[in-house]
């Protein structure tokens, strides 16, 4: 009996130790230096208490970054889910099994593509002079269309690329989820005077509530890590109109001033805020 209890522990311990070291050490270190005034240009640092945190709240660029991050989060999560559900239903309703499998395969490609490559491809597609997407506008009006340099459209344009990657992938997941549902409630609904859209709105989607909420969570966490995509496409610009929190922390820590402690305090704040927010949403969603 006893060996049964020990054996799993023996196997688990090394992996857990490595994981703890890899995950905890940088986190703890970040927390520690967020209370100091370390800079990249100096080897030493003093403990300054909450000074970094306090100055964050009078930093207008930080407030802007929060707004951008929130808009990015809402925009990408909502659009991805809307696209995934819409396209998933379309695939389920309108395609033969062969076409369905082929399209599923195609829809998986964008998400397999490394994010940086995808970003470069799309950045070129949006190029005001040579881009394929902006070409029709240029041909019709004679004016170049520069979506990525316009503060009003830049974030939305980058979000489109994110939705292209994840919305197509999630639509395949939604399709597979729909395929796993028992057919009888649909048939019952068809006999119950429900039109096709009513079957999905009142029967299919509510039956998939739990997995769809999980998908939303996955996308929320994924959207927090969109640094590479935004970095390649706009570098936070024009101005600071697409500068998310992680982007701002990065530029504070490494690009502009090397204020590593200030950047760390931002990262720690983000970690705390997201942990609280996700715990809260998770608890609410489960009820």
């Amino acid at each position: 009996m006893k060996t049964k209890h020990i054996l799993p522990a023996v196997f688990l311990t090394p992996a857990m130790v490595i994981l703890a070291v890899l995950a905890l050490v940088p986190t703890v270190y970040a927390v520690v230096i967020s209370f100091q005034d370390r800079e990249l240009s100096r080897p030493d640092g003093q403990f300054v208490g909450l000074a970094n945190y306090l100055s964050l709240f009078s930093d207008r660029r930080f407030i802007n970054a929060i707004q951008v991050s929130l808009s990015w989060e809402v925009l990408t999560v909502v659009l991805t889910l809307v696209m995934a559900i819409g396209l998933g239903i379309l695939l389920f309703e309108c395609t033969t099994p062969k076409v369905r499998n082929l399209l599923s395969l195609l829809f998986l490609v964008p998400v397999i593509l490394p994010r940086v490559s995808a970003a470069f491809v799309w950045k070129f597609a949006f190029h005001p002079l040579y881009g394929i997407i902006t070409y029709p506008y240029k041909a019709l009006t004679g004016q170049p269309l520069d979506l990525l340099s316009n503060p009003l459209t830049a974030l939305g344009t980058v979000a489109l690329v994110d939705v292209w990657q994840w919305g197509l992938f999630f639509s395949v997941i939604v399709l597979k989820l729909l395929e796993t549902l028992p057919p009888q409630p649909f048939e019952a609904a068809r006999l119950d005077h429900a039109k096709t859209w009513e079957i999905y709105a009142y029967v299919a989607i509510p039956m998939l509530k739990a997995p769809l909420i999980s998908l939303a969570f996955v996308k929320m966490i994924e959207s927090l890590r969109a640094f590479d995509l935004i970095y390649v496409m706009t570098r936070g610009g024009p101005g600071i109109s697409t500068e998310t929190l992680d982007m701002y922390a990065f530029s504070q820590g490494f690009i502009e001033s090397g204020r590593i402690s200030y950047a760390s305090s931002m990262a720690v704040l983000m970690m705390v805020a997201t942990s609280i927010a996700f715990t809260f949403i998770w608890k609410r969603a489960r009820i």
């Binding site: 028992p182 009888q184 409630p185 048939e187 019952a188 609904a189 068809r190 006999l191 119950d192 005077h193 429900a194 039109k195 009513e198 009142y202 029967v203 509510p206 039956m207 509530k209």
Partner: protein, 360 residues
């Protein structure tokens, strides 16, 4: 309320023909049971009438109107599924109300109708619960309520009791029978359970391999099976089937088996000398007798199954297992010799090659 007419209905899946030239008239208010073994096409046929499967050929009309091209919702049918098919995320109330809401029935009327239906089916206390919180029998009652509330022209039942345990099945069978007595809605009921078919049906449609074997009242099908398949399928315990050869006797006919000859006078039977046939005798038609005279089956009882009032005695005769249903009080013991006689009017005779009855 209305009649249903199926004329030359076919169903193909690619090159596979699962329903062949199906013709049936269901009268208004009739309770029809489609009975047959698994895979005989009875559920497919029901789903074609409901509109859930496409009709490959022929016409289905409900109330005098061809419905081949109509959506399921426009056919005026309501269906109860084997696995209930309730909407799992909705309360019982919403499950029952779903169809009426889609039909844009006013809220107050929905409420009244649900109250009436749930009173009939005893669902009052459960209206606010979710389907998963109810037992199988209650769930099936909800499914029936959901079908009933739309006051359809036709009720379709697809093996509604197959997922329930034996006791509940009996109980629900009685409820369905009462409901039909009360509502008098034309009903088609699919089952593979002959007991359900016998007890519920006005007429049974016995199917095999996508075609009708026999249509008739339960008594007709039991007493006058048209084919060997029907004879074997209907009746518990199963009919005893013995291979015989027909021969001319001194006064009448002989049915030759291994060992014994059975004398019959052949009234009402189409007999030809030398014909290979199958003799069918139902276990309750075999009576214990003391005399070892003519027309008796004898053997050594090797298994006794106690059924309560009766007991099923099994013995070997002419290389076949024969069962006889005898009074439990006069039941022989295992290993004893049994002698059983029968009434010639109660026997069945089938042509061995065509499987058709030889009764005129």
């Amino acid at each position: 309320m209305s009649n249903i007419v199926c004329s030359s209905v076919d169903k193909n899946y690619g090159a596979i023909n699962v329903i062949k030239d199906f013709n049936l008239d269901v009268a208004d208010r009739e309770f029809i049971v489609f009975l047959g073994p698994s895979g005989c096409g009875k559920s497919t046929l029901l789903r074609m009438i409901a509109g859930l499967e496409e009709i490959s050929g022929g016409t289905v009309s409900i109330d005098g109107m061809a419905v081949n091209e109509l959506e399921p919702r426009d056919r005026g049918v309501a269906m109860v599924f084997q696995n209930y098919a309730l909407y799992p995320h909705m309360s019982i109330y919403d499950n029952i109300a779903f169809g009426l809401k889609r039909m844009k029935v006013p809220k107050a009327e929905i409420e009244n109708r649900i109250n009436a239906v749930s009173a009939t089916l005893g669902l009052g206390p459960y209206l606010s619960r979710k389907p998963a919180e109810l037992s199988g029998g209650q769930q099936q009652r909800v499914a029936i309520a959901r079908a009933m509330i739309k006051t359809p022209k036709v009720f379709l039942f697809d093996e509604p009791l197959s997922n329930l345990d034996a006791k509940l099945r009996h109980h629900m069978r009685v409820e369905i029978a009462r409901l039909h007595q009360k509502l008098q809605t034309t009903t088609i009921y699919v089952t593979h359970d002959q007991l359900e078919a016998m007890t519920l049906a006005d007429r049974i449609v016995l199917m095999k391999g996508g075609a009708i074997e026999q249509v008739g009242s339960p008594a007709e099908i039991y007493e006058k099976p048209r084919t060997l398949f029907v004879a074997g399928f209907i009746g518990t315990p199963n009919m005893n089937l013995i291979d015989v050869t027909v021969a001319r006797g001194e006064s009448g006919w002989l049915l030759r088996t291994e060992g014994t000859d059975i004398h019959i006078n052949g009234d009402g039977l189409d007999l030809k000398a030398g014909q290979e046939a199958v003799l069918g005798i139902r276990p309750p038609d075999l009576v214990q007798t003391a005399s070892a005279g003519e027309n008796v089956l004898t053997g050594v009882a090797d298994l006794i199954e106690f059924h309560g009032n009766d007991a099923l005695v099994t013995f070997k005769f002419a290389g076949k297992e024969i069962g006889a249903l005898v009074k439990a009080s006069s039941c022989p013991k295992t290993g004893e010799r049994v002698t059983l006689s029968f009434d010639e009017a109660r026997i069945h005779l089938f042509d061995k090659t065509t499987g058709l009855t030889m009764r005129r």
